[in-house]
């Protein structure tokens, strides 16, 4: 089975998390098991660590990129 670690902030509900896991199984098959982690620094969105790749869909990262663009 493939492990998928999802790290979220405090705002994501269980229903949204369940929607995420169901969409992952539809996409990559049922041979997945999920681990949820909480990070209080995350402002909206999630980190997804799956199959050797990390997907960053957090608003805090987008805010940081905006800051870097403005500082250039």
């Amino acid at each position: 089975m493939k492990k998928c670690v999802i790290t979220t902030g405090e705002t994501m509900s269980e229903e949204t998390f369940r929607l995420l896991t169901e969409r992952m199984r539809k996409r990559y098959g049922d041979d997945l098991w999920f681990e949820r982690k909480y990070d209080p620094d995350i402002i909206g969105g999630f980190f997804l660590d799956f199959d050797g790749q990390i997907y960053d869909y957090t608003l805090s990262t987008q805010l940081r990129r905006l800051k870097e663009q403005l500082m250039q």
């Binding site: 902030g9 705002t11 997907y55």
Partner: protein, 170 residues
């Protein structure tokens, strides 16, 4: 009259005349030649001394002329040397002034560049502070305003990016 010119008197006269002649001859022999010789020697000596004096005067005149020529040359050499050194001093002074002016220009330019760099650095620092403040405020607002609906939208964005709509389940 005959008594005046007696025989004895004639003899006396002749003897006197003879004495005078003899005396003259003796004097000439004994005195005239030495005296003449002395006088000639003295004259010759005087002539020699006169010639030596003239030669000495001539030599002195030549020395004087030589000395005056050397003095004149020395004056000319000194004047040329003074002029040369004055020219060198003026040239050196000019070079020093030019170098000082160039240094002053470089210092002014560097000061202007430093001031511009300081202004730029201050502007960048102020910009960074403003950005930090803006981002900090934005972060606080986001933390307050972000909801589960925003999380759901991000989930949809993820699957739109990696899976594409309608391709779920492979």
């Amino acid at each position: 009259m005959a008594e005046l010119l007696s025989k004895d008197m004639l003899v006396d006269l002749a003897i006197n005349l003879l004495n005078i002649v003899i005396l003259f001859l003796i004097t000439k022999a004994l005195l005239y030649k030495p005296v003449k010789k002395y006088l000639d020697a003295r004259k010759e000596k005087l002539e020699q001394e006169k010639a030596e004096a003239a030669a000495a005067q001539q030599a002195a005149e030549e020395v004087r002329q030589t000395y005056e020529a050397k003095l004149s040359d020395a004056d000319a050499v000194a004047a040329a040397l003074i002029a040369e050194k004055r020219g060198e001093a003026q040239k050196t002074a000019g070079e020093i002034v030019s170098a000082a002016e160039a240094d002053a220009a470089r210092i002014r330019e560097k000061a202007q560049l430093d001031a511009a760099a300081a202004r730029e650095e201050a502007l960048e620092s102020a910009k960074a502070e403003i950005m930090e403040s803006a981002i900090g405020i934005s972060e606080k607002i986001l933390r307050r305003e972000v909801t589960d609906r925003d999380d759901r939208r991000l989930v949809e964005d993820f699957f739109s990016a990696v899976a594409g709509e309608g391709q779920d389940g492979q």
